[in-house]
């Protein structure tokens, strides 16, 4: 019923590599920019707790807008450029990254903060050297969800991206237009596999960032 032409895939490996690469670029730029914004807002939240409500509401509103609408809204403004994909992809990461970073920073037990104060840490050095490392597990949980979500959304962006962007999703669009199942499955399965690989890489990164957690779990 469904015929996968493996020979076609093997003959077009350079195309697969190109589109995977673009998929990763469209993941990386929004994640880095989104994290920078979310992190700055989370630091602000530690100083001014009153900002949490409004920031959560605004990022939540951005997150609620269905993806196709968010990509489409920019077409008349930014035209068919990479920015049309990058801007919504970035705004979608904000809620998850922000909520998790704030939750992470707040999860530090008060006695730990008091001990840091007693040891003479300033507010900033306590934040960077005590609270931030302890917040890593929750922050990384947010990064993982945001990354996997973004990989899926890059695929959707191919609907409006035409020849220009959409990463592996472009295979899906082309496959639908030319009625070629191999391309549809290549794009869909490719983006799913990519999501699992990136998630696995982030788990490894988290282990590396929190050596104490590993040490603790290895002690019987």
């Amino acid at each position: 019923m469904i015929e996968i032409r493996w020979d076609w895939i093997l003959n077009h490996l350079d195309d697969v590599v190109d589109k995977t690469w673009q998929h990763l670029i469209l993941l990386l730029i929004p994640m880095v920019v989104g994290f920078a914004i979310a992190f700055a807002l989370a630091i602000l939240a530690m100083r001014r707790p009153g900002t949490v409500g409004p920031v959560t509401a605004v990022t939540g509103l951005l997150y609620t807008i269905p993806s196709l609408a968010a990509f489409a809204v920019l077409i008349p403004i930014t035209g068919l450029t990479l920015m049309t994909a990058i801007i919504p992809l970035t705004t979608y990461t904000l809620l998850i990254l922000y909520v998790n970073t704030v939750a992470g920073l707040r999860s530090v037990p008060p006695e730990v903060n008091e001990a840091a104060d007693a040891m003479g840490y300033t507010h900033t050095s306590r934040l960077l050297r005590v609270q931030l490392p302890l917040a890593v597990p929750l922050i990384m949980a947010g990064v993982r969800v945001a990354a996997v979500t973004t990989i899926g959304l890059v695929t959707v962006s191919a609907i409006i991206g035409g020849q220009l962007f959409g990463g592996l999703g472009q295979f899906i669009t082309e496959g639908l237009q030319t009625d070629f199942d191999t391309k549809i499955y290549l794009g869909a399965m490719g983006s799913v596999v990519l999501a699992f690989l990136v998630d696995g890489a982030l788990v490894t990164l988290q282990r590396w960032l929190t050596p104490w957690a590993r040490a603790r779990s290895e002690v019987p």
Binding site: M1, I172, A188, A195
Partner: protein
């Protein structure tokens, strides 16, 4: 902007099959149908996992897979299958083109959040409460329906909220596969280079999603028992996003 207002105020766009009311009904019909079917599966399984504590690993894995596999990918992979099965199972190929791939992708997407919210909501109920209910002579069914369910209802509605928003977004994408709904204005607006239609579509789709979200968050707050509300009045947690 003016083009959008022109589109929205043109009476021709408020009637017939391609009119806004009919597109809205199409969008809501498929979305609600998918969530209704998904909740039948998810609630039953969630009650079981939550009440008995068995099969937890299945629940967690389902949720993770649901998150990693985007609905658009599921939809396009189902399209050739559903078109191919039409002559075999004897349904109209049009249904295999316009309805089944989108509907099944929605189902796949809507089960995990409701399932996770249901069992997590039931599990967070204080053990002491279920133990004392048992001590008072309540049956397992009574404990589930009279103690665990009321205390978990707000969390479960939270799961519905996530599911419904994702399903509404998926219905929008479904327009790209010849589905109906408000997404048609976006897809057709791009194809026809009609910015008025495009923006009207964006506005309607975003409005529907935001309206649904506001309604369900209100319901979520109303369903939280007052004592629980007072005890947990803090910022949102990651559990709400999961």
């Amino acid at each position: 902007m003016e083009q959008m207002i022109a589109f929205l105020t043109d009476p021709a766009n408020w009637q017939d099959q391609a009119g806004i009311p009919n597109r809205l009904i199409e969008h809501l019909t498929i979305s609600l149908l998918a969530v209704a079917c998904a909740s039948a599966i998810a609630l039953a399984l969630g009650f079981y996992i939550g009440h008995t504590g068995k099969l937890q690993l299945l629940g967690i894995n389902l949720a993770n897979i649901g998150r990693a596999v985007p609905s658009y990918a599921v939809m396009v992979m189902l399209l050739p299958v559903m078109l191919g099965l039409a002559p075999v199972l004897g349904y109209d190929p049009q249904i295999g083109l316009r309805f089944l791939p989108i509907f099944l992708a929605m189902l796949f997407l809507a089960v995990p959040p409701i399932l996770v919210a249901t069992y997590a909501g039931i599990q967070q109920v204080d053990r002491d409460l279920t133990e004392s209910s048992r001590g008072m002579g309540m049956t397992e069914r009574q404990i589930l329906t009279r103690v665990e369910l009321p205390l978990a209802s707000a969390v479960i509605v939270g799961g519905f909220r996530v599911a419904l928003l994702q399903v509404i977004a998926t219905a929008t994408i479904g327009a790209f596969l010849a589905g109906g709904g408000l997404g048609r204005y976006i897809v057709d607006g791009i194809a026809l280079r009609d910015n008025g239609m495009l923006y009207a579509g964006v506005l309607l789709v975003a409005g529907l999603a935001i309206g649904t979200d506001v309604l369900l968050s209100w319901l979520q707050r109303r369903l939280t028992p007052r004592g629980v509300r007072l005890a947990t009045e803090s910022s949102p947690t990651t559990a709400e996003l999961a």
